[in-house]
Amino acid sequence: MSLNREDIEKLCFLARLEVTIDEMPDVESKLSDIVKLIDQLQAVDTASVTPMAHPLDREQRLREDRVTESDEREQIQLNAPLVERALYLVPKVIE
């Protein structure tokens, strides 16, 4: 299995990650090497094996459904690129 340019462009869109035209040849060749590496797993017989969910086989802890966090919005939004009236601004999505 190797990845061609079209495959990579699809992955870029799924990951919302731009790879430029200049970057593409290097990405194509290195990703193909990586896919060759991980393809080694196909040869392993795992028919009766349960996929590992947690290395110590513990269960997910639950807690009571109570609000315990405090409002730190102002401090958190100090890092925001563009904020107005406590809202994060982005380009218009809905026409």
Binding site: A15, E23, I38, V44, R61
Partner: protein
């Protein structure tokens, strides 16, 4: 002062032979003197450090100090530190000032440790050389043309060059143990879940663990005592009580059984390193140990399993970096899709992009079963191999890395070559096992690391074995002449 271990300096501080401010000033001066040639630090927090040191001196005078009060440390730049830049070695977080402290940061702060700064690392912890940082490569104190290892290379170099007494790191595939090995210091990764991941920027959530870079196992025990333990803000944190690590080191030696993974002594292992490992095993025999070969049947698949699982988890974890709420945002964008694509395209380096794309691929429709699910099954097989081994032996001991430190730029063109640096370390992450690397000799003049792996939650016994090795040998006292 810098030639004394953290444990000895803790005694000096308690006995008031030195003040916390003096100690902090001394190490800050060393950072000023040496860091330009090593690039171990992204941020040095000079004023905050001196303020923390002054508070530490008050505590020491009042008699309510802990062993870490007044001890100068550094945090890998993957840990959120309130009011201080937290970059993960990435352009995408170059402008990010964390609004909160990671749990381990606040625990060490509460214990009175003094933070001197944030250390450089491979971008988002993805790497084995600390070369992929947006802030440039970190250099190995033993030879500036060589890498210190990664991804916790800044922390390793800072400790190896005696710029700090100890540093925190993270280990997902070997990122504490491998740089410890290449830099001639002690690196410790605890059992998965032993230390809280809250505030530690996530790379691969089922593998990431915080740990320590120090000169000795004794020092690691002192730091780990403060860091370890349940945290309700980490849903994968273990509720198991934390034993006393330091007092475990003092207990008498008892004969142990050591398993040596024979698979690790293959063509890939440098001959000088293999010799140093064999000599180290002789030390354990003298102390009182039975040594036997063990065969970990599936461990050769560690690297492909890791590059499926870690990449998949990373692709999910790094989707939060979108330019909307914090971090880098691309300019002159017309629509939301372009905002995401260009922000992330501009903000991430090449290795991070490769791993995100790999992760996206193995999780995508039609490939999830063949790759991700298959990898999680093989992961179970590898884990089972370790469990079987621990039914027969107390510890697994062998090499940490296939070779000593390599040249800056040498492996950057071949990701697979770079990935193979972690071939001996990844297994412990996949199985969630605690593991240490300690210096055990030299090969071609460069440090060699000995890896010790224990069963789940065997930290006290594991640290003790490493400690006894360090009582019998002096490899951990070696320092490059320039930093002595």
């Amino acid at each position: 002062m810098h030639d004394r271990t953290l444990a000895l300096l803790a005694d000096d501080l308690a006995a008031r032979r030195v003040s916390a401010v003096e100690l902090t000033e001394h190490f800050l001066q060393r950072i000023e003197q040496f860091d330009a040639q090593l690039n171990a630090f992204v941020t040095v927090t000079r004023d905050e450090a001196l303020a923390q040191a002054a508070v530490a001196d008050k505590r020491l005078a009042a008699g309510n100090a802990t062993p870490l009060t007044g001890i100068p440390i550094a945090h890998k730049d993957i840990f959120c530190t309130q009011g201080v830049k937290t970059s993960c070695g990435s352009k995408i977080l170059d402008n990010f000032i964390s609004p909160y402290d990671a749990t381990i940061v606040s625990r060490l702060k509460d214990a009175g440790a003094v933070m001197l700064g944030k250390t450089n690392m491979d971008e988002f912890a993805m790497g084995s050389s600390s070369e992929t940082s947006f802030y440039g490569a970190v250099r190995n104190p033993w030879d500036h043309e060589l890498v210190p290892g990664g991804s916790s290379g800044g922390s390793a170099a800072a400790v190896a060059a005696r710029m700090v007494c100890g540093a925190t790191g993270t280990d997902t595939g070997g990122s504490i143990r491998q740089p410890a090995s290449l830099s001639g210091i002690t690196g410790f990764k605890p059992t998965y879940g032993r230390v809280s991941r809250y505030g530690m920027v996530a790379f691969a959530s089922s593998l990431d663990q915080a740990g320590t870079l120090t000169r000795t196992a004794e020092d690691a025990a002192l730091m780990m005592q403060v860091m370890a333990g349940f945290d309700e803000r980490d849903s994968t944190a273990l509720t198991d009580p934390v034993p006393a690590f330091s007092s475990a080191l003092e207990t008498p030696w008892q004969t142990i059984t050591i398993g040596v993974p024979e698979n690790f002594f293959d063509d890939g292992l440098d001959e000088g390193s293999a010799q140093a490992i064999r000599d180290a095993l002789r030390v354990f025999e003298r102390l009182g140990a039975t040594i036997k070969d063990v065969h970990l049947e599936h461990v050769h698949l560690s690297v492909p399993v890791y590059y499926v699982v870690a990449s998949a988890e990373a692709s999910s974890n790094l989707s939060r970096f979108d330019g909307v709420r914090y971090g880098h945002r691309a300019e002159n964008i017309d629509n939301l899709t372009e905002l995401y694509m260009r922000t992330r395209g501009e903000g991430f380096g090449a290795e991070v992009k490769r791993r995100i794309l790999t992760g996206t691929y193995v999780l995508s429709a039609g490939y999830y079963d063949a790759y991700y699910l298959q990898a999680q099954k093989v992961r179970q097989l590898i884990s089972d191999d370790f469990a079987r081994a621990f039914a027969d032996v107390d510890f697994l001991i062998g090499p940490t890395t296939p070779t000593p430190a390599f040249g800056i730029g040498q492996k950057m063109d071949d990701p697979i070559q770079m990935y193979l640096n972690d071939i001996y370390t990844i297994g412990a992450n996949l199985a969630g096992l605690p593991a240490l690397s300690v210096p055990c000799g030299f090969s071609g003049g460069l440090p060699v690391g000995l890896q010790l792996i224990g069963a789940h939650l065997s930290e006290p016994a594991l640290l003790k074995v490493a400690h006894y090795f360090q009582l019998e040998t002096d490899w951990h006292t070696r320092v490059p002449a320039a930093y002595a």
